[in-house]
Symmetry: C2
Amino acid sequence: MQSQVCLPEVTKKRMIQLLQLLKAWPDEKITSSDISQQTGWKPSLIRHDFWLLGTDFNGVSNGYYKDQLSEIISRQLGLQAESFTKNICIVGLGRLGAALLDQNTFPESEFQIKAGFDSNVYRVEILRSTFPLYPASEMQFVIKRENIKYAVLAVTDKDAQSMTDRLVKTGIQGIVNMTNVVLKVPKGIKVENLSIINALKLVI
Amino acid sequence: MQSQVCLPEVTKKRMIQLLQLLKAWPDEKITSSDISQQTGWKPSLIRHDFWLLGTDFNGVSNGYYKDQLSEIISRQLGLQAESFTKNICIVGLGRLGAALLDQNTFPESEFQIKAGFDSNVYRVEILRSTFPLYPASEMQFVIKRENIKYAVLAVTDKDAQSMTDRLVKTGIQGIVNMTNVVLKVPKGIKVENLSIINALKLVI
DNA sequence: TACTGTGAACCTATTCACAGCA
DNA sequence: TGCTGTGAATAGGTTCACAGTA
C-alpha cells in the first residue's frame, strides 16, 4: 500500500498524460508501441518509465491490461481518490477564472472546487457557481476551514505575486499559475505554469 | 541580424519567462543572482543560458542592462515583432474558449487573434468579439486566408483529436492544447500542453 | 514471434570552478 | 570585491541492446 517511489518530474508528467490516454483507449490491452504511436514517446522510454514505477505489471510479452495499468500508475503517483485531499480553489474571477467555475472544467471526482476568490467584491456577488465565492480578504480563513490544498491562480499579472504571497501564507501546497508572471514561492510549494502567451511563444 | 542559434527547449522556456520578469523589473540593471532570487534558477544556469544565446552582452562584472537583455533574448528566440507571423485563432468557444476572446488575454501586440471557430453554429452567432467567429466547417478556408499560423485548442476532450486533425490539414504550425488529451500530430508541428487538470495532478 | 524488463551506454542539462574584468 | 564568461565535471534523462517470457 505504501511504495510510491520518488519519480522524476518528466516521468510523472508522462504518466499523467498516459492516464488520460488510457481513459479513452478502446481495447482491453495496450503495448508500449501502441502508446508510442499515440504520443511520440519511444517504446523503450515508456517501458523504462514503468520500470521506474517499480511495480511488476504482469505485462510480459503481451502488452498491458489497460485497467491494471491505470490503477498502478494512479497509485504510484499518489493520485488515488482516497490518498490526497483534492480540494481546490480558484483565485481571480475575471473572464478566465470565471470560465473555470464551470462544472465541466473539473468533471472528474479527482478535484473538487471548494471556493472562488476575487478582490473585486462586485464579481463575488454577481457570479453564479455551485460553490461559494468570497472576497480575497477571507482567503486565509476559508482555505483553512475548507481544507483547500491547491489553487488555480487566474488573476491579472500585476496581482499575481501579491495573491501568491497570500496563498503561501495560508499554507497552500501547490499553485497552477495561469498568469504570465514567474512566481516567487518558498521551496516546497509546487508551481505549474500554464501561461497561454508563454506557450504560444514556445510553439513558434 | 541572422544568428538565432538552435537552443534547447528548456533554455527557451526559461528565457521566455525571463522576458516577463524583465518587463516588470524596476531597475535599469539586473544580475544573474537577482534573477536567481526571483525564479529559483541557479545563477550559473542563467549565465550558461546567456552563453548559449551566443551574443556578447557587455554585462561583465556589473550585471546586465534590462532593456538590452530583453532585446537580445527576443531576437535570439525569433520573437521580434517583425520576424514571425503572429496571427492566431481560438478553436472551441465553450466557456474557456469564449473567455479567451477577451482583448485582455492577449494584450501584447505579439499575438493577434484573427478568428474563433466552433462546430456549434449557435455559439458562433451569439458570442461577441472584436474579430470574426466562424463555424468549424470554414476553418480550412479562413486559416489560409488570414494567414493564421498558431491555434489555441479549447474544445472538449472528445473533439480534441478530430479538431487537431483538421487544424493540421490547414497547415497550422503550432497548437496550444488546453484539453486533457495527448494530441497526435505529425512531426514538425509543435504542441504545448496546458491542461489544468494535468497540472493539478502534477503539483500534488 | 512479439512483446516486456533491465542495466549499460549515450546524450542532454545543470552545476561547479575559476579566469578575467570593472 | 562582486560580478560575468566559459569549459570541464557531474547529474539526470533517454535510448539501445538483449535476455527472458507467453
